[in-house]
């Protein structure tokens, strides 16, 4: 039995906007196991980013975590609910035990500080180094780890002097500077070109092996999932629809949404006759559909789907689905 690092239980995040309450995620529960790469997949606005940010309460106003628990299993075996910590305690965890990498490396870094400063700062604020000067010295090693060429001189560079791929390496460097237990990578390669994307994914894999870290990978790209992750969580309209290993989900998708999604991606190396599209549009999360949120677009929808919310059921070992068909 794999040992969980994080248990997310019944997490709900709402955004109190001018237009009304956006129920960004509702009742989301899943575990992240120690040492695995877990992929969180879904289309724009399905709540995957919100879920990942809610883990360390990085939800900006007007968003609010309205319900749930995020149980973090520390190395010493003790457990703590991250959602009940004080601001200072959660700050100690962010960037130290749980680190983030965001989508767009161009906007993640502060343009007015050198990259050495920004990596060093990550260590300084967690007391890993005495002052920023030492931090910048140590940053050279970190940047070498992320395979940034010529790190000794690069620490003095400002972000704008680096290419997109190099910036993303710096962002990863900030993430791993404190040797975190969990690395949350939120669409880390979406803003990059394919060849650079491949290199960044490789780098992430290598670092993960080296530090025995756990990775939560958020992406909409099923290809990236297939090659990097061990397990997959599929989200649709703020809800989890399916959880399973990569092979289970890709070869035996249970939820109609997962199945349809897989058929809609053109596989460049396989034979493609026709792509199947999903009719309808993603629902508005202020007034989400009743029952199963996928029912308006589902070819198998029945009366039950319209009224009752399906819960996650384990169909085969470690393979869960939230669908009334099972």
């Amino acid at each position: 039995m794999p040992e969980p690092l994080i248990e997310i239980k019944n997490l709900s995040v709402y955004f109190y906007t001018y237009a009304g309450i956006v129920k960004a995620i509702e009742d989301v529960s899943f575990d992240i196991y120690r040492g695995e790469t877990l992929a969180l997949v879904g289309e724009t606005g399905c709540g995957k980013s919100v879920t990942s940010r809610a883990i360390t309460r990085l939800i900006e106003s007007p968003g609010r975590i309205v319900n749930g628990q995020v149980i973090y299993h520390k190395d010493d075996g003790s457990k703590v609910d991250l959602l009940t910590l004080s601001d200072e305690e959660i700050r100690e965890i962010r960037g130290n035990e749980i680190a983030y990498i965001f989508q767009d490396p161009h906007s993640s870094l502060d343009p007015l500080y050198t990259i050495g400063y920004q990596v060093g700062e990550a260590m300084e604020v967690h007391g890993k180094v005495k002052n920023i000067k030492e931090g910048i010295t140590k940053a050279v090693n970190v940047l070498r780890e992320v395979m940034l060429p010529d790190p000794e001189n690069r620490v003095k560079n400002y972000p704008h002097e680096l290419s997109g791929g190099m910036k993303q390496r710096v962002v990863i460097g900030v993430g791993i500077a404190n040797n975190p237990r969990l690395l949350i990578a939120d669409e880390p390669t979406t803003a990059l070109d394919v060849t650079v994307q491949a290199q960044i994914l490789d780098l992430l894999n290598e670092l993960k092996k080296k530090y025995n870290a756990t990775v939560l990978l958020i992406t909409h790209n099923l290809g990236v999932v297939a090659e990097t992750a061990q397990r997959v969580v599929v989200m649709y309209a703020g809800k989890i629809v399916e959880i399973g290993t990569v092979d289970q989900v890709f070869h035996n998708p249970l939820h109609p949404y997962t199945a349809a999604l897989l058929k809609a991606v053109p596989n460049p190396l396989g034979e493609i006759e026709t792509l199947e599209s999903i009719p309808g549009t993603v629902p508005n999360l202020i007034t989400p559909p009743t029952g199963c949120r996928f029912h308006p677009r589902c070819p198998f929808a029945t009366q039950t789907c319209r009224t009752e919310v399906p819960s996650l059921k384990e169909i085969e070992p470690n393979h869960f689905v939230a669908c009334h068909r099972y």
């Binding site: 001018y18 237009a19 309450i21 309205v66 202020i286 007034t287």
Partner: protein, 403 residues
């Protein structure tokens, strides 16, 4: 605990129509109906636009500062139109000629006048008492009456300056931003020149230099003369004072365009990056069509905010010039000029500074509040969210049959 807040928010989700909303709905429907009379099918084709207007009105109704601004602005416009007729004493009636105690009379005082004047070749003789509710000026004129008459001067200058200056500026900015290259370079250099010029100094120089020319022009064009007199609600015998008044007008127009050229150029440059502009070029549309039909409507939002606020700034600057003794001269009723008179007798004749000052501050603040509010109202995001709530409301009212 979480549940409580959840419900509290849920209750607020739908948009409750207030009386103001219903009134604004009625007004907009009325306008739409009117346009429909002129243009067939207009209403049908512009359903979305009408809806948009209504939503903007709702957004306005929910912003108290903007509403306050609107009320002040409407009051100012109404006073500007009918103010001269509300004044209890004509602006060119000088009580000081008949009783010197009426000069700088304090608020609340009454002055008895023994008037002898010539009108239509007849000598008229009568006695009267003037009540100075908020004091009098150097000529013994009732301050309240002069303030009311001055509203017209302020409004006419305001409206015409804003109509001409910014329009010119926006057109230049559009051309400059859309075409780029050498045209842009030339226009922007000229704009820079005018920006490098402190507006106040330029206006001062122009208003000192122009009156003679303008006076000449008016003397040779009786039609223009009557028109201007009518616009400012002035008596024909003030015709020789028009030159100075209009000098300020021309000076401010010349000062008022470069800012708009800058802004319009900047927004055009950004807007030009949008693909719909490229799409329009791919169809083959002419530059003029693209600039005025496609780009202009999309950049006008922030410019409207600026225009609104500048209605206030024009009043400030115009009054500033009159304060310096340029532009309107007595007896032409003008707020800035009253302060100029009062300044020499400050603090004894404090009312001459205080009341016109309060009027100016109020009107300018009104325009600024409205402009500040417009920024939100014109922002599509505000509208979208209102729209959602209104729709939700109508759906719950309509019952399930609609779902």
């Amino acid at each position: 605990m979480g549940n409580n807040t959840k419900e509290a928010y849920e209750e607020r989700e739908e948009y409750e129509m207030s009386i103001l909303d219903k009134i604004s709905d009625k007004i907009i429907d009325g306008v739409a109906l009117f346009i429909n009379l002129i243009k067939r099918d207009w209403k049908k084709r512009n359903q979305s636009k009408i809806q948009e207007w209504k939503l903007m009105a709702y957004a306005l109704n929910r912003s108290p500062p903007a509403l306050l601004g609107l009320v002040i602005v409407i009051a100012y416009i109404i006073l500007g139109i009918i103010g001269p007729y509300l004044a209890s004493w004509p602006y060119d009636f000088f009580p000081v000629m008949y009783n010197s105690t009426s000069r700088l009379a304090a608020p609340g005082s009454n002055v008895f006048l023994n008037v002898t004047m010539v009108k239509n070749w007849h000598v008229i003789h009568y006695t009267t008492t003037v009540h100075y509710s908020i004091g009098s000026d150097l000529f013994g004129r009732d301050l309240l009456s002069v303030l009311l008459a001055g509203a017209r001067t302020a409004l006419v200058l305001d409206v015409f300056i804003i109509l001409i200056g910014p329009t010119f500026g926006i057109i230049l900015g559009l051309i400059s931003g859309y075409h780029g290259g050498a045209i842009d370079e030339i226009i922007m250099r000229i704009t820079d020149m005018f920006l490098a010029f402190p507006g106040l100094i330029l206006a001062i120089a122009l208003s000192a230099v122009l009156p003679g020319r303008i006076q000449n022009f008016l003397n040779y064009h009786p039609f223009a003369q009557t028109l201007v007199l009518k616009l400012f609600a002035l008596e024909p015998r003030d015709v020789n004072n028009l030159g100075k008044l209009l000098a300020v007008f021309v000076a401010l127009i010349i000062v008022w365009w470069p800012g708009y050229t800058r802004i319009a150029r900047g927004s055009t440059l950004t807007e030009r990056e949008n693909l719909y502009v490229e799409a329009a070029r791919a169809i083959g549309l002419s530059s003029r069509t693209i600039m005025f039909r496609h780009i202009l409507p999309n950049i006008i939002g922030p410019i409207l905010v600026m225009i609104t606020m500048d209605f206030g700034n024009v009043i400030l600057t115009e009054a500033g010039l009159s304060f310096l003794g340029l532009g309107a001269v007595p007896p032409i009723p003008d707020w800035g000029n009253l302060i100029n008179q009062g300044a020499q007798y400050f603090p004894q004749a404090w009312w001459l500074v205080a009341f016109p000052g309060i009027v100016i501050v109020t009107v300018v603040l009104g325009w600024n509040l409205l402009g500040d509010g417009l920024r939100d109202i014109l922002d599509p995001r505000t509208r979208r969210s209102m729209e959602f709530k209104v729709k939700k409301k109508s759906r719950t009212e309509g019952g399930e049959s609609n779902a």
